[in-house]
C-alpha cells in the first residue's frame, strides 16, 4: 500500500476480503484488481503439494487450497485480475525450470517452475475448480517470500 501511495494514481486496498488483501486501481470505478493471500509459516518450507492441497473441514469436507483460493478470484472476479500473489514469511521449496534453488528466491512466478510442477498445479486446480480444461493464465500467480 505504501508503494502505491508513492505512485501517482488512485488506489483502494481492501482488507480481509475472503481472507485476502485486494488492491484496486480506483476506489469507485476500478478496472483492475490484484489479490494477495498472506500466510504465516512457523516452520519448514512451502511445497507445490502444500499450496495446492487444502485441509479438511471438521465434517471431512475438502477445504480450498491456498493457490486454488487465489486462482478462484481469476475465475469469478468481473474486473481484470492483474496479479495473484501468495505471500509468506516461509520459503518456497519447488523445482524451478532453470534448475535454480527456489529457497533463495524472494519472488517466483508459477510460470517459471519446472514443467512437472506446473502440470501438478494444473491438475490440482482443474480438480479443485472442476474445470473442463487445464487452467490458463498461470503466468499470473506469483509466490513471494517476505519477512
Amino acid at each position: 500500500m505504501l508503494k502505491l501511495h508513492e505512485g501517482d494514481g488512485e488506489y483502494c486496498v481492501l482488507f480481509d476480503v475472503h481472507d485476502d488483501i485486494v488492491s484496486l486501481d480506483h476506489p469507485v470505478a476500478p478496472t483492475a484488481a490484484r489479490f494477495f493471500q498472506v500466510k504465516t509459516k512457523t516452520s519448514g518450507n512451502w511445497t507445490a503439494h502444500s499450496i495446492t492441497t487444502g485441509n479438511k473441514s471438521s465434517t471431512g469436507e475438502p477445504l480450498p487450497s491456498f493457490l486454488g483460493k487465489l486462482y478462484k478470484h481469476r475465475l469469478k472476479f468481473e474486473i481484470a485480475v492483474d496479479r495473484l500473489t501468495f505471500v509468506s514469511n516461509g520459503r518456497f521449496n519447488v523445482d524451478m525450470a532453470d534448475g535454480s534453488d527456489s529457497r533463495e528466491k524472494e519472488s517466483i512466478r508459477v510460470s517459471d517452475l519446472s514443467a512437472a510442477v506446473i502440470t501438478k498445479i494444473q491438475i490440482a486446480l482443474t480438480a479443485e475448480h472442476s474445470l473442463p480444461n487445464f487452467p490458463t493464465g498461470l503466468d499470473r500467480p506469483t509466490l513471494k517470500q517476505r519477512r
Binding site: 483502494c12 482488507f15 514469511n89
Partner: protein, 197 residues
C-alpha cells in the same frame, strides 16, 4: 518488538522520508496505520454492495494521506512547543510553572499520537468545541493562555475531570494551550495590540 515489526517499522521509516517535511516520526504513524488496518480486518459487517466493501474494508489514497497529515512532524511538534513557551514568557509565567507547562505540552503531544487513547481524544474534542464558542477578542488577547485557562477552568466537563484525575491539572492546562494554537485563530485584535503596547 518482533523481527517482523522491526522490519515493518523500517519500511514505514523509509516511506516517511519522502512524505511531508521528511521529519514525521515512524513509530506513531506505524501505530496509527496498524490500528486502522486491524479495525478494518476485524470488522464483522456484511458488505452488501461494492461501495459497502470499500467503505468497511478499504483504505484509499485520501485516507492514507489523512493519516500522514494527522501525525504531526517532529519539526511542527517542536515549533508548537516553542510557540507556547514564548507565549508563556510574554505572559510572565514564573519560570518553574512555565517549565512544568512546557513539559506537559510535550507529554500531551506525545500521548495523543496514540490513536487508542480515547480519553485524550474526547477531552480534546470538548476543548475544540469550547474554544470555538469563545469570543475572538479573548482569543486574540496578548495574555491568551492565562485568559483561556482561567475561562475554561470554570467549566466542569466530566471529560476534563478525567484528564485531571488521570494526568494532572497542569496537563489539562497544557492541552488548552496546545489547542489554542491549533485552533483557527482570528486575526489579531488591533485594540488588544494597542493595550499590549
Amino acid at each position: 518488538m518482533t523481527d517482523h515489526e522491526n522490519h515493518c517499522l523500517g519500511v514505514v521509516a523509509t516511506f516517511l522520508e519522502n512524505q511531508g517535511d521528511g521529519t514525521i516520526a515512524p513509530a506513531p504513524f506505524h501505530k496509527t496505520l496498524k490500528a486502522d488496518i486491524q479495525r478494518r480486518t476485524n470488522r464483522e459487517v456484511r458488505d452488501n454492495t461494492f461501495a459497502d466493501m470499500v467503505k468497511n474494508r478499504g483504505l484509499t489514497r485520501q485516507q492514507v494521506q489523512g493519516m500522514i497529515d494527522s501525525v504531526m512532524s517532529t519539526r511542527k511538534h517542536d515549533d508548537l512547543v516553542v510557540l507556547v513557551s514564548n507565549q508563556l514568557t510574554k505572559e510572565s509565567f514564573v519560570p518553574s510553572r512555565s517549565r512544568a507547562m512546557v513539559e506537559n505540552v510535550r507529554k500531551y503531544l506525545a500521548k495523543r499520537l496514540d490513536p487508542t487513547n480515547r480519553l485524550l481524544a474526547v477531552a480534546q474534542k470538548k476543548i475544540e468545541f469550547e474554544l470555538s464558542e469563545i469570543s475572538p477578542a479573548l482569543l486574540s488577547s496578548p495574555s491568551v493562555i492565562t485568559k483561556i485557562i482561567s475561562h475554561l477552568s470554570t467549566l466542569n466537563h466530566k471529560e476534563w475531570q478525567l484528564i485531571r484525575s488521570t494526568y494532572s491539572d497542569e496537563f489539562l492546562n497544557a492541552m488548552f494551550a496546545v489547542q489554542i494554537y491549533e485552533q483557527e485563530l482570528p486575526p489579531p485584535n488591533p485594540q488588544s495590540q494597542e493595550e499590549n503596547a
